[in-house]
Structure formats: C-alpha cells, structure tokens
Amino acid sequence: MTTNILPMLPIILPFLAGVIMLFIGKRPMPHRMVSAVTGLLMVGAAAFSVYYVYVNGTMVTFISNWSAPFGISVVYDMVAALLVLTTSIVMFFIVIYSFQSIGYEREKYYYYPMVMFMITGINGAFTTGDIFNMFVFFEVFLLASYVLITLGSRKIQLQEGFKYLVVNVVSSNFFLIGLAYLYSVTGSLNMADIHIKLSNYDGNLAIMTIIAVVFIFVFATKAGLFPLYFWMPGSYAAPPMPIIALFGALLTKVGVYAIARTFSLFFTNDAGYTHQVLLLLALLTIVAGCIGALAYTDMKKIIIYNIMIAIGVIIVGFSMMDYAGTIGAMYYLIHDMIIKTALFLLIGFIIYRTGKNDAADLGGLIKQHPVVGWTFFVAAMSLAGVPPFPGFFGKLFIVESAFDNGHSIAAIIVLLSSLIVLYSIMKIFIKVFWGEPAQPIELKNIKSDKLLFAAVGMVIVSTVFGLSADFLFPVFEMAAESFYDPSSYSNYLMGVE
C-alpha cells in the first residue's frame, strides 16, 4: 500500500507536463497538445482514485519511507480524491478554452506550464497530510499565480497583481507564524498526529484560540472571507478570462479546504468560540457578497461577488461541523468549483464575442446564440440551487444542519442569499439575452468552437453531477466523515505507532 503510485499522480503528472513544456520551448501548438493530454490523463487517474478510495479506504504514502509522525505523509482520503477530480476536470476544460482565448503571445510566454505548476500546488495542498507541506504547496501555487496574474503586463494586471502579491505574502507570513505557534504547542507537524495530541490536550486554551485566530486570518485572506476580501474583486477582474476562471474556481476553494481541515482536526477544544467566529465571518461574507452582486452590472464583478456568497455558504456548513453540515458543505464545495468555472467560461464567451464587459450595454443575443443563452439559463438555475441541479442538495443539508444547531438566523441568511444569487444572475441573463441593445452591437468574428465546447461541457458536467447526486451520496458521506469524525482521518497513524 505504501508503494502505491496513485496518491502521488496528481502532483507528478502536472509537474512533469510543465517540465516537458519548458523543454519544448516557445511553440504554442505542442504546449496545447501536452497540456490537453495531461488534463485527460489526470481526469482518468483522479476518477480511478475516487473509485479506489471508495473501495479500499484512505490511501496513505509516506514520502521517503519515513514513518508517519516524523516524515511527510500524503493522505489521500475521499475529500482529497473528490477535490482532485474536480480540479482535474476544471483544468482540462479551462485548458481547452484557453486555446482560442488566451492569445498567442501569452501562450508563447509559458502560460500552459504555469497553469500546470499551479495545479501541482493545488493538488499538493489538497492531498498532503502535513501542515508544513501544505504551506509549501500554498507557496507553489501562489508563485505560479503571481506569474499568471501579471502575464501580459497590461497596466491593470500589474496594478492588481502587485496588490495580490502583497496581500498573499503578508498572509503567508502569518501562516508560517501560526505554524510555529502550533508546533511549539504540539511538537508535531503531521496533521493527524496533531489531532491526536490535541484531542487529549489539557494545557492553556488561550494559546489554542490565538492559533485558531491566526489560522482564520490566513485562510480567510486566501479564501476571501468578510473583512479580508478587499483584494478579491479587483485582482480577480484583472487577468484574462481563463485565468479568472482558474483563480475563481480553484484558488479560493483551497483556502476553504484549509479552513475545513484545520478546524475539524485542530481547533476542536474550544469549538464554542472558534466555530462561532467562523460562522459570524461566513454570514458577514454572504451579506457583503450579496451587496456586491446586487450593486454591479459588470458581468465579471457579479460572478466574483457570487464566489464570495458561495464561500460564505460553504463555511456556514463547515462551521456547524456535524453530519449534515459537512455533507452539505462538501456537496456545495464541489458544485461551486464546477459551476463557477462554467459561468466564467460562458461570460467569457459573451465578452469575447461582443467586446463589452457590462451587461447593461448588451441585449437580444438569444437570436444569434440560442444554445449559449439556454446553457447560461441552466447554469444560472444551477448556481441558485433550483432542485434538479447540484446546488440544491448542498444548501438543503447546510440549512437543515443550521436549523438543527439552533442557528436559525444563519439558515435564513443562507436561504435569502439564494434569492439574491438568482436575482443577480437572472439580471445578467435578461439583460444580455433578451430585449434589444441600447446601441446596436457589432459581434466580433472569433473562432469559438473550443470556447463553446469547454463552456457547455462544464454545464453538462454540472448537470450530470446534479442528477447523479443521489447515486454519489455514499461517496460524499465518506468524504464528510473526515470532517465530522476526524478520528477517521487520523486512524492511519494507529497502525504505525
């Protein structure tokens, strides 16, 4: 079991592809082929891993054969498997989408290798079982994302990229400080080991609360939670569309995953305080996101504020930390990664076709693009959580759990936010596809078969996911178990010690 290559594949494959592309040089066509093939391979490997984990339980690899609490271990549980599978699918479609949208110049300057290195970091952060290793993988994908956000050197990109760089360097710094505190308290960096040591911890609770607050600060900055989301709307709107889709779908979710992991494994002694703080921040995030989503008619901005709402909803689920809450949060997390990509890709198509960012300038596109219009409608329904689509199941469980735990206000805010999400996204749909434009729009003649393939493909993935939600329930139950019953995550250490 320890020599199984499967848990390492999501890290090895994209890194290897990136290195191969560096050797190829600056020719875009081979880059495209290598990255698309890698995307397919990763989807295949990740899908098989989900099956394998479902049958055989958590996969663990001890890197360098150092046994568990001492060396770095890669713990590939169901959460990691599902997240890696979703990441691979998202990456594959975004790579296809990039062929016709990112532009020849960016392709020449190592766009695809940087995407691959970023995926390496994201997959690593999802699969690692060592908190310091998680920090390292955070740095890996952040470094690649610094390159991606400034690639092309437009003025807005450099301006927003600098802001993004400063925010992330500061928060990474605090991540390291939090790790140092945690290490000084527990004397271990292995997450499962820390969980075991803290579960019979009888020391000072104040220091654990301080560490929890430091970790909230760090991951809230990465995920864009309430007081620390200020950088997100600006920075995410700067780069070209495929990069926004990558960032919006994946990067913020890594922060959410890290919050869920640390708050289920480490900070369980004073849950009354730390999880309440998390819940409060999540609710404030939802409110702030709703205000933003209502205020703008710029399509990119609306979707970016919708990311904030989704993150708030997921964190509400995780802050409950019970059976229903974590299942709902897992459903909603996976759903949101897929549907945000789909929406960004559809919006991107509209922006590339018309050259306008603002929904208020558009109208009547349904005549030229009926397929895109109705696909967008399906995606909008899915985002809002209308029953046959996947968003519904997540919200159902989250709201149920919130009512069970006596947080009726939280449940009502989550429910009301769905209405605002529906309104904000329907606003785009009605303005762009119905009616007549204020001024006649000149449609640009662009090659768009791959754009449409990726965008419609993502919506189909989302719909299939929604329809098979019942079939996938045992898988999600297994994933949620890592959170609401953290000893199931850490019991791989039992065989070792």
């Binding site: 020599t3 390492m8 090895i12 890194f15 990136g18 560096l22 690899t61 890197i63 360098s64 890669v74």
Partner: protein, 155 residues
C-alpha cells in the same frame, strides 16, 4: 541601469573600461568560489550545505564575473542557456523521485550503494545526488536569469 541613467538626464553613460584590479581578482576569486560551491554541494548530505546553497554560490561566482566584465564577454566564457539549465534541473528533480518507484519504494525514497574504485577506495553512490544536481541547476539558473533580466543586458 543604463536606461534609468538616461532618463535621469545623463546623455552618455560613462563606463570605466579598464578596471584591471576587479577583472584580475575576479578571475581568481571566481574559481575559488566555484570550488567552494562544489565543496558545499558535495558536503550536503550529512553536513550543512547541499544543492540550494551550492547553486546560489555558483550563481554568485558568475555574477561577480558579470560585474567585472560585460554580458557578452561572460556569455563567451560560459556559453550556457539559463532556460535550459532551469528546465533540466526541474526535470531531474521530478524524474529521479518518480523513477524510484521502480525500486518498489515510496516516492522520494533514495537508493544508495557502495562501489570500490581503485584510487579512491570505497565510495557511495546515491540517487539523492542526482536530485540535488537538479536543485543546483535550477537555483543557479534562476538566479542568473533574474540577474541578467533585471540588469537589462539581454535585449
């Protein structure tokens, strides 16, 4: 650098062409630094050192040459493509740990053996060295690429 000076109002940048002292000493010191970097690199496994420090030190030796001479001269002395250096370094760093799966051990579990070489006696062969060469190349290549790009000599 030159363009900054031009913008500041210096029409012609004065460059001292005959800085003999620095050119002569850097030729000597270059070799010493390079040898020391190799020493650090080889010491890396059990004692402080390794690919990262070694790479940085090797890069600093070449940067010293860049300061003493100009970019073209150094390019003639050391005809290395920094891009290729980084790529091959990264390739070694990922291929070596992956290939180790063929030994039936987890990722990154290095293998070693001892061989008898006539003059040196028993020496250790270790796959970690190959990985460390990758680190060395990547670090040295990256720092040199950054210095040459920021220095604005490659245009």
């Amino acid at each position: 650098m030159k363009s900054t000076l031009k913008r500041a109002g210096y029409s012609k940048v004065q460059r001292q062409m005959n800085d003999v002292f620095i050119q002569f000493t850097s030729k000597v010191i270059f070799l010493i630094i390079l040898l020391f970097s190799i020493n650090l690199f080889m010491a890396g496994h059990y004692t402080p050192g390794g690919g990262f420090v070694g790479g940085l030190l090797a890069a600093s030796a070449i940067i010293l040459l860049l300061m003493a001479y100009d970019y073209e001269t150094v390019k003639k002395m050391i005809p290395v493509n920094f891009h290729l250096m980084i790529s091959s370094g990264l390739a070694l760093a990922i291929v070596v740990p992956t290939v180790l799966f063929f030994f039936g051990v987890p990722f990154f579990t290095h293998q070693h053996t001892y061989v008898n070489v006539p003059v040196f006696g028993e020496i250790a062969l270790h796959t970690a060295v190959v990985f460390d060469i990758g680190v060395f190349l990547t670090v040295a290549g990256t720092s040199l690429l950054i210095v040459t790009l920021v220095g604005g000599t490659e245009d």
